[in-house]
């Protein structure tokens, strides 16, 4: 019985999680997280994944000669018109 109540509560929380996270509000005080280790772990995992992904793909410059290729293609297109 308690399990069913817990699952209903988790389902309700997770149903609204996209909106809660998207709102940017501090979720640490959310009543459900005070009592649910599983949803607290879920949120922690999502935070960790997002943070790790940012480090995975730094912003980089294209190679220097790419402009020359683009320029040549533009000139070729202009001449064919």
């Amino acid at each position: 019985m308690n399990d069913h109540r817990d699952q209903a509560s988790c389902a309700d929380f997770q149903e609204r999680l996209a909106d809660l996270i998207g709102s940017g509000e501090d979720l640490s005080a959310h009543p459900h997280l005070q009592t649910c280790d599983r949803c607290r772990a879920l949120l922690a995992d999502l935070e960790t994944i997002a943070a790790a992904a940012r480090q995975l793909f730094p912003s980089v410059e294209p190679p220097d000669d790419l402009w020359r290729q683009i320029e040549s293609a533009i000139i070729e297109e202009d001449q064919s018109e």
Binding site: A18, C39, T48, A52, R54, Q69, I70, I74
Partner: protein
Amino acid sequence: MPGSPIPAEPHSPGLPGRNGSAPAAAPAGRSATPPSPAETNAIASAQAGDHHAFSLLYALHKRRIYSLCLRMVGNVTEAEDLTQEAFLQLHRKISSFRGESAFSTWLYRLTINVVLMQLRKKGLSVVSLDEAMEPVPEEGPGRSFGAPDLNLAGAIDRMALERAIANLSAGYRLIFVLHDIEGYEHNEIATMLGCSVGNSKSQLHKARLKLREALRNQPRQEARL
């Protein structure tokens, strides 16, 4: 470095820290400032056929466009080809830019369409941008109750995460890249992709859950080094 662990950070742009701290600043790749007078002039001149002005626009936007392409396809050669195609399209279409949205947003959307078109050509499960943004409830990962906790709060294996992101469908990957990596807000993504803010939030959430699911399915020794 492939295979090296990525240490966890306290929070990301989209996920406020549990201690209530503000979201991190936008990543360096993202332009948060309005266009400079030099850029505005360059746009007008390029629209009039000034080649030098177009090269200036390339110099201003090449890093962001190339980085977006690289993040979407994960391959340097393909990213260069896509960057070239995006700027060729820009050259063909710049006269149609009316300034109704920011130039950078317009260029971004153009690039996203170039990338999605290329992914479709490769036969990946890519549909049009609008379709990619449609919610697909039956594809969403299951809820987390009853499942074992991943408990990633230490490190994530770099290659495992790269693989998991590469295996996301294009729609999920796009939202994940734009929000969690590029640092765009949901309202900006909604404008760029022509979807609702709610749709953007929901797709991002599903993308993150799918990544978590994929990482959970990694062998233990790979998932946590």
